[in-house]
C-alpha cells in the first residue's frame, strides 16, 4: 500500500507541475518563445488572487476568475507592446527581455508585499481528503488540481484542433509568413497565445497556493520544474507536458520516501535520465 500511496501522491503532485508547465509549453509551441518569467507570472497571479481574496473579500473562485481575465489582458498587452518588438530569428533578445521581466516582477512584488510567505486560504477544503480504499487517502485539493490540469489540457486541445482560431495558431506556428497569406494577423495570434498562457498560469497559481507557501522570490524554482516537465514530456505536446509533470512528481515523492533530502534531487535525476534515454522527450510533437 505504501508503494501505491507514493505513486498516487506523486501523480497528484505531477498535476500541479503540469499546470506550471502548460503555459510555458503553449507559448513555446506556438511562437518558439521561452518565457523565463513564467514562474514569476505564476507568483504574480497568486498575489493577485490573494489580494482579491483578502483585501476585497472575494471568494476564492471569484478572485481566480478575475485574475484569469486580468492575466489574459496582461499577456496580450505584454506581447503586443513588449515582446513583439524583439521576436525574430535571433532567440537571444526575447530571452533577455523575459529574464529582465522576471527580475522586475520579483522586485515589484517584494516592494508591494514584502518577503513574507503567503498562502491562499481555501478553508476546510485544503485539508479534506477522500479515502479511496483503506489506507489510501487522497487530498481533495491535490485531486482537484490534477482534474483541473486534465480539464485545461482537454480545453486547449479542443481549442487547437477543433476551432478556426486553433488552426490559425497551428498554421502560424508552422510558418508565420504564409499564415499572413491566410489573412491571419500573426501579431494578434501571438498575443492571444501569451494571454492564454498567463490565464492558465492563474490556475497553476491557485493549485499551488493552497497547497504550499509562496513568496515573491520562488518564481525561478517553479520555472525549473515547469521546464523539466515540458522537456520530459517532449516539446510542443500538451499531453506530454502532463506526463512530464507526473514523472517529475512521482520521482520526487519516491525520492522523499527514501529520504526526505532526496525529494528535489530525485526529480532532477529523473529529468536527466529521460534526457539520456529519450533526448526529445517522451512524447515529442510530430514535427521536429
Amino acid at each position: 500500500m505504501a508503494v501505491i500511496d507514493t505513486l498516487v501522491q506523486g501523480a497528484l503532485l505531477g498535476g500541479v507541475y503540469a499546470l506550471f508547465a502548460l503555459g510555458l509549453s503553449l507559448i513555446f509551441g506556438v511562437m518558439r518563445l521561452v518565457n523565463l518569467a513564467h514562474g514569476d507570472f505564476i507568483v504574480l497571479a497568486a498575489f493577485i488572487v490573494l489580494v482579491g481574496a483578502t483585501s476585497f473579500g472575494l471568494s476564492l473562485p471569484v478572485a481566480t476568475l478575475i485574475a484569469v481575465v486580468a492575466m489574459f489582458c496582461l499577456g496580450f498587452a505584454l506581447q503586443r507592446l513588449v515582446l513583439e518588438a524583439v521576436l525574430g530569428e535571433d532567440i537571444m533578445p526575447p530571452l533577455l527581455i523575459t529574464f529582465g521581466l522576471s527580475i522586475v516582477i520579483q522586485n515589484g512584488l517584494l516592494l508591494g508585499f514584502g518577503a513574507d510567505s503567503r498562502r491562499l486560504d481555501a478553508g476546510a477544503f485544503e485539508t479534506r481528503s477522500l479515502e479511496v480504499v483503506q489506507g489510501l487517502n487522497v487530498g481533495l485539493a491535490p485531486l482537484l488540481a490534477l482534474i483541473v490540469a486534465i480539464a485545461v489540457i482537454l480545453l486547449l486541445q479542443l481549442l487547437f484542433y477543433r476551432t478556426a482560431l486553433g488552426r490559425a495558431f497551428r498554421a502560424t506556428s508552422d510558418n508565420p509568413e504564409i499564415a499572413q497569406l491566410m489573412g491571419i494577423d500573426h501579431r494578434n495570434i501571438y498575443a492571444v497565445a501569451v494571454g492564454i498562457s498567463l490565464a492558465v498560469s492563474v490556475i497553476a497559481a491557485v493549485a499551488f497556493g493552497i497547497r504550499a507557501n509562496f513568496d515573491p522570490a520562488i518564481g525561478p524554482a517553479r520555472l525549473l520544474y515547469a521546464f523539466e516537465a515540458v522537456i520530459i514530456g517532449g516539446l510542443g505536446s500538451l499531453w506530454g507536458t502532463l506526463a512530464g509533470g507526473m514523472v517529475l512528481g512521482i520521482a520526487q515523492t519516491v525520492g522523499a520516501r527514501i529520504d526526505p533530502e532526496w525529494q528535489i534531487l530525485a526529480g532532477h535525476l529523473a529529468f536527466l535520465l529521460v534526457l539520456f534515454l529519450q533526448p526529445r522527450g517522451l512524447f515529442p510533437a510530430r514535427r521536429a
Partner: protein
Amino acid sequence: MTTLLATHALDAFYGDFQALFGVDFELAQGEAVAVVGANGAGKSTLLKSLVGLLRNRHDAIHFLDHDIGDRPAPEIVRMGLALVPEGRQLFASLSVEENLLVGAYGAARREPWALDTVYELFPVLRERRRGNVADMSGGQQQMVAIGRALMSNPRVLLCDEISLGLAPVIVEDIYRLIPRIRAGGTSVVIVEQDVARALRTVDRFYCLQEGRVTLAGRPADVSFDDVRKAYFGA
C-alpha cells in the same frame, strides 16, 4: 474595363538590394494576366509586393480604389487578394482539410468557393481530407495550395510558379482549371517560367527582365521573337 489592381512606378527592395525598378502593372476585373521572365527577373517580388509581404510606398499599389502599398499582408488578403506561393508552402501540422479551412480564415466572402466546391474541383482531395499533406504527391499538394487560396474567395488570385516540379500531365490538369476559377468571378495573375504555356492561358502578359518591364501586351500581338528578346535581353 475597370482596373482592379495596379502598381505605379513600383520599386521593391530586399534590404539594400533593389529587385524592381518602376514597374507599372495593371489587372482589370475578370482578366487573366501572365508575368513571365527568367530566374531573378523580379516576378515573385512583384507578387510579394502586391500581397503585402514586401512593404512599399503607400501609393505604389492600388487595389479596389485603395492605396495599399504600405498595408500589412493580412489586411490585403482580407480585401480579396490571395497568393498561391511558390513551392506550395502548405502547413505541415494541419491535415488536408484543415489546410483548406485555414484558407477561409480571413475570407471576405463565402461564395462561390467552399469545401464542397473545392472538393468538386479536386475530387482526390476529398478522399485524402484527413491525410497528412507531407504524404501527398507534388501535384496533389499543389491542388491543396490552390484550393487553400480559393477558400478565401479572392477577387484576385496570384499564382507563383504553379507548374514548377510537376509532371506535364498534371500541369495540364491544373491549367485546365484556370477558366473555371475565372468563371467564379476571380481575376488571375500567373507567374510562370514556361512562357508558351502562360501565353496560351492569359489575355495579356508582362515580361520582366532584371526588375524592369521589357515588354507588355496581348499574346496575339507579339511575335515569339519579341518575347525572346524581352525575356533574355538583346
